[in-house]
Symmetry: C2
Subunit: 251 residues, 2 copies
């Protein structure tokens, strides 16, 4: 069988729909995140077929990829950059439910509508698949469905960890946990951790931890005063006492 790409109309994002796939055969095999993404389950032959279905999609800093309630036309693998996933209450209060990093996929919804907002935190590059192709992909490549399931389960587990944080940790523990999580993920992506980069602003951190920006700021200051971290720049953290930070992060 030869899979052909479903045409599902225009995509969000300025640069969505570029077709790297058709111009460069073997694109997927050279993909930087291929070993971590959901397509890691596939062998070369299957990968070559899947390659026909994807498009590349670029977003600038702060650009919106999709919004809660939008028809869910596509799902994405993050190739480069980071996105912010969030939900909001009618009056504007916002909860960031997670940050999507390279290798992770976003946009799979149980129903036909996206369940949260996705916004670019940095310049972002995405690998896009039509949701119309998902069912066929699943039937053609059962391994892929298993992998999607495993990755979704892993997101669910992270979500549950985060519920514990939101419901039962204090500001200091939340912040320490956030920093430890960032360090782990930076390390996993072979990015520097000693001066750890904070790709998001205080408001994003606050909305991720269920705090206000003032409380986040005060908590950073407290960690600084206690000599557990230092802040060479607003968006850069140096951890002086990893053990102490971990102790706080565990509750």
């Amino acid at each position: 069988m030869n899979l052909t790409r479903a045409d599902d109309g225009p995509s969000p994002g300025l640069n969505c729909g570029r077709r790297n796939s058709s111009s460069s055969v073997g694109f997927c095999r050279k993909c930087a995140v291929q070993t971590r993404a959901f397509c890691a389950a596939l062998d070369d032959a299957a990968l070559a077929q899947l390659e026909q279905l994807h498009t590349i999609c670029d977003l600038a800093d702060e650009e919106n990829l999709f919004t809660e309630g939008d028809p869910a036309a596509a799902f994405f693998t993050v190739l480069k950059g980071a996105l912010r996933l969030s939900k909001s209450l009618p009056d504007g209060r916002r909860q960031i439910t997670g940050f999507a990093l390279p290798g992770e996929f976003i946009g799979l919804a149980a129903e036909q509508l996206y369940v949260h907002n996705a916004d670019a935190l940095t310049d972002v590059s995405l690998c896009r698949f039509s949701i119309l192709d998902l069912e066929r992909i699943g039937e053609e490549f059962p391994k892929m469905n298993s992998r999607l399931l495993a990755m979704t389960n892993s997101s669910l587990s992270l979500a549950q960890d985060h519920m514990l944080l939101l419901g039962r940790m204090n500001a200091l523990e939340k912040t320490a946990n956030f920093l430890c999580g960032l360090i782990d993920r930076a390390a996993a992506a072979d990015q520097p951790t000693d001066p750890l980069a904070l790709p998001m602003c205080r408001a994003d951190i606050a909305d991720y931890l269920g705090l206000t920006i003032e409380t986040v700021s005060r908590t950073f200051t407290r960690l600084k005063v206690d000599k557990i971290i230092s802040l060479p720049e607003h968006n850069r953290v140096r951890v002086n006492d990893t053990a102490a930070l971990l102790r706080l992060a565990e509750g």
Copy 2:
């Protein structure tokens, strides 16, 4: 192909391992939750095969099904009753991440270990599958994997809603949201909603909402004083002003 059941040793729970399947052919087709459970994706022939793999498992009130960190040997569909899913910090602070009701499945972990605790809230009856069979089930019945994926995505969406609640709602909104959610689920399961049953105690509600039992109690009292609800019994709620409750629940 004929699927045979993987033997993975003893199961938790007093009455685990009863083999209804072998004694009554067509058991699955008569199952009360079959249309809602993950096996709803299967046709009769596939269902008959799957039937060979399951065992029935009963738990008494407050009994533990599995604990965070246990080897994940099996996953379950709730047939009857309700379970409490929770995670805890080392010092005992607990967050209930959800309640599992009939038709839902629990125990699927991305890694080999369970990621949370599951305890019976009432007497519970479960349909048990060995995790060893999962991979084969997925390959044999691709539709089943799609359905598992959709159901997991739906759990993930609920988890994200709950993060918004935990991080950004106040006690009144949290409680109203909790009650509205219970009403919806009771209605979906064709259970009475006017005197709505609360199968869990105040401590469980508190740990679900990220509050203390005292705050939950005070909030119930406040809703009562405002004539939005009444409490004929501690475990029974009557909603007098659904519109007001919904308004609060939305934030």
